[in-house]
Amino acid sequence: MARISSAPREVRRPSRTAGRSGQGKVALPLVAPAMILTAVFFFVPMILSLVWSFTTYNGMIPATWNGVTNYTDLASDSVFRTAIWNTAVYAVVTLAIGPALGLGTALLLNRGVRAQGVFRSIFFLPVTLSLVVVGTMWKVLLADDGFINQCLALVGVQGPSWLNDPSTSLLAVSLASVWAGFGFETVIFLAALQGVPRDLYEAAALDGAGRYRSFRAVTMPALRPTLVFVYVVGIIGSLQVYDQMYVMTRGGPLKSTTTIVYYLMERFQRFDLGTASAAAYVLVVVLALLSAVQLKLARRNS
């Protein structure tokens, strides 16, 4: 037995090594263009940006080292603090409503609805639209005399000046983003739901589980990896939000829709590349920490 089991190993080992070095010779030139492009357009700018975050670089005159001043300036900048708050509010609103709406829609569609494909396409359609198109469309709908306020007027409610009032602007942009994005979650949840084995539901039914009980005991555990994926992708996306703010409100009024990325883009446009890079790295660290916590929680739960 020992001889038989060790023999293939001895045979395999050299052949695998020979194959690897042979493949390596062929593979290296094939992957080199992609590697070089990734290095030039991804890693080099990342490292440069990290270096700039410790300098006064403005893209025009040589950079001067200024230690952690950009980071301490950020900590004392009330606009940056507002941007962090706005980003957090946006993330909470969109991640509270978006996935819930996506899951609800997916559950409805999963109940053998006729023309399921058509509905799936309809819900997914906004995801395929450019955020500039979505932003422009909602800007028109949310105008003072726009469709939304005209509908509210029909039921005797005078709608607010959604995008011009600092107390409603962030909510309005967040809800427009939910509309644009929840179709993605619908499709992902629907695919996951269709992958849950039928026999689990049958077994649960035999054990006397009702609809709610089988949702909690069968559906939710089966959806957990999908939920983690949706939230990881959702948090990364919502913390990087920029397009909607640029199109709908330009970060205003009174910085009420200035997010972290909007803030750093503004610094870039004013050629304050040091501060902009520092803000970008603060965001990278926050995203990395949040993603790590989420993945750890997901692993513990599973």
Partner: protein
Amino acid sequence: MKTSGKALSIGLLTSALFLAGCSSPSDSGGGEASSSASGTVTVWDYYGEATPLKASIEEFSEAHPEITVDYQAFDYESLHSKFPVAVAAGEAPDLATVDMTWIPSLAANGLLGDLADVSQGMLNGEPLEDQYSDGANEAMHYDGQLVTALYDFDAYALYYRKDVLDAKGIDVPATWDEFIDATAAMAERPSDGAAPTKYGFAVQPDTFHYSQYLFQNGGSILDSDLQEAVVNEDAGVEALDYMQSLLTEGGGIYWPDASTQIAGIKSEQIGMFINGPYMMGVLKAGVPEQSGDWAVAPAPIGEQEGSYLGGTGLVIPTGAKNSTAAWELAQWLLQPDQQAYVYTAAGAAPATNAALELPALSASDPYFGGQAPFSVFKDAMATATHFPYVATWGDIDSAIADGVTSVLLGKESAQSALDSAAQTANAALGG
């Protein structure tokens, strides 16, 4: 309108060609420099589709076969972000159109060449400074250097629906007090206290429009040494209070989004606004059905006349490879007959004194009921001043705009909002 505009440009083109044919080599654009200028000139232009440069450059290329022009079009934002980086990286164009509000940050970083070197103080054979207004000459200098030659200018005047004003028997307002009354009388509201739904005056919460009232009230944004913000002094506070009173006592409509202004004009929600000469072109293209209904008057004054001065400047960056030929082209673009394209192609206002005297610009304009609106902007330019030339102007501009927005939304008092703006401005100035 389209036919007459076309006829006008054909007429101008014919007269330009005729003049080019008649003039001797020494008095054609550039004069003696033309003998030494040759090679390729790279031009970066942010004007967009309606650029007046293209037509001018085509004629320049015919008149100067020894110079090849490599014309590259950019949009406004792209040129703003690419120009400084390209110049710093040694890949500067030879000539570029830039917004005058960019001048401080570009010049402070040493990206703009001194035009005095290449021009020797002369423009098309005449002293350069004699060919611009005092305000324009001042705006073209940074730290004693001639960093740009103004190509088109922006200074504010009052646009109003003359047909409505006449029908309601309202006189054209000349002072701040008359202006509040006129806007109140002109605006139509669904009920007392409601915002105007017709013929309102657009109150725009930005630094450009606030400065109109600030300068007219004898105020300034920074002190004369550009060391400290003075926008929160009495003149500034009064100006902002006045701006707010246009909303509370006059017929003002809060209009924060400039991109929707033309829609407001089309729906007749806006019947009056204050803006620069480029809006003449925007109105003609955007609301041709209101032809004959509009007129332009000097902006109603407070203590004194005054406006912000902006526009487009021609710059030759440091590191330009062919600055001699670039100046040759710049001079061509600043000849009166070429400057006419600024009006005919872009609907904007050419900047040189001679161009402002062109018959085409003083002709009666049917869109403005036979008025010759250019003279109004020309007068506005005479008393206009540019924004302070400090490298961190972007931060100061944003702080003031936020202060103005805050007051117009009723969030805080003018004094408190401008104190905050001044504090931010002082921090940006390094104080």
